[in-house]
Amino acid sequence: MTNLHRSIGAAAVIPLAAVALALIFPNQQAFLAQIAITALVVLSLDLVVGFAGLATLGHAAMYGAGAYGAALYALHVWAEPLTGLIVGGLAGATIAFLSALMLMRSHGLTFLMMTVAITQILYEIVNKSRAVTGGDDGLYGIVMKPLLGVFEFDFYGRLAFWYAAVVLWLVFLLLRHIVASPFGLTVRAVRDDGDRVATLGGNIFGHRVALYTLSGAIAGLAGALSAQTVQVVGLHSLSVTFSADILVMLVMGGAGRLWGGLLGALVFMMIHHYAAEIDPVRWMLFVGAILVAIVLFLPKGLFGGLEALVNRLRGRAPA
């Protein structure tokens, strides 16, 4: 298989999966939209955790900023979806850039604690600013104009799903390009040994800030999609709990690979959906047990395991 074939194949996976999911779950499009949005935010988290090697529990700060940004824009300025999407991305990027200026001077546990602290501060600011953000009631009554002036958002979430899936697809293609670029290569080198890159003249701080900002912009897009399609934004979108959830999804799927983020979000959301239906109280136990199993038996996550399996079936040594 040539590289070209490989890229075309990879580019086709998300559209094909979207069509398949829409056919298999015809009455659950709102749920599928949630999966696509979650996959987008997990993808953005993978940039920070997987590609830059920075463990964070504060990714919700950017997702929430995008959600609130897009919601406020729709409520007070213009309810047009695509400009709202851009506003959400900018909100996420802004929060990411400002916090990165502080965060990227720290490492390890200090970094982790700072991400939590920044998210908590943002959470409290939004919580206390009732007049603007609705406090713990959140923002509701978000009614979007038709997408591209033509497609109406429907009650069943059909448009929501295709809208979210297309954004996810485009971002995925963009990230595939970026990961393979000089920037992407350098980011991985900085993860492996930042100091070594500095001795070669690379600017570690600059790379980390740029990457975090990019990741924040994508998380912001995901937040905006959520605000526009669910039509409600709550404090949960800014919480450390949500940050931990998406980290779990990423680890399940396999950090450091774009596919891992997608797969993790899909599997986690499916388990969540069905396990919560069976046992609304104890469903987290299922997730916990599965996570333990994955960490023990598939250290590279579901995608890493899948890849090893395929390689074995093809009789090749693992890469």
């Binding site: 670029s181 492996d192 001795t199 070669l200 003249g201």
Partner: protein
Amino acid sequence: MSALLETRSLSKSFGGLNVTNNVDLAISSGDRVALIGPNGAGKTTLVNLMSGALPVSSGEVLIGGDTVTHMSQQDRAHRGLIRTFQITRLFESMTVADILRVAAVQKHKAGLKLRWGRARTDLVERDVERVLADIKMQDRRDSPVTLLAYGEQRLVELGVALVMQPRVLLLDEPAAGVPQSESHIIMDAIERLPSDLGVVFIEHDMDLVFRFAERIVVLVNGGVFATGTTDEIAANDDVRAIYLGEADE
């Protein structure tokens, strides 16, 4: 012409311990200087001070006549000062070619670029191919670096520095940990270094020192104990007593 790399009264202390003591050194184009001395003499510390990995306590470091004492490692790298490490520090998730590519991307200041583009690809790939040929590892280009023998990894470590086409190269025990049977590969590569490059290398193996060095600097307790040509150092009784005698144990 000013020296490529110079230190003036360079000193470093950790608490009350002086690990580098008033070191004056000047490296010119084409120099091959061996830095020797017993364990704990401060050889690696001196390299760290020159490369900017450690802040100095007092004294100066100059590159091409300009003071760089308070400049970061990355700025010194851009001025043509490149070092290698005693313990191999390569990007463990990568293949040989990608590791060299990382270095080439930094050399061409393309680390923040989101596109390769034909011109940049050409520049980077030319550097990668040049070095793969230099270190004779064309057939290993796609090997994950962690699967290479240690001697080969040391060669890649040297290759990373060669990509940068430095003016001064600081080699911290380039053959450390390499089995005797493989060390000639490293030495051959060092022998082929561009003749105008200034090279400072730390080495314990006296055969290698006398084979490559034109000048030897003996460090003892952080200070320059003796300096001279290989013949002078070989004939220096004090050095023999303090250093070479110990090495023979």
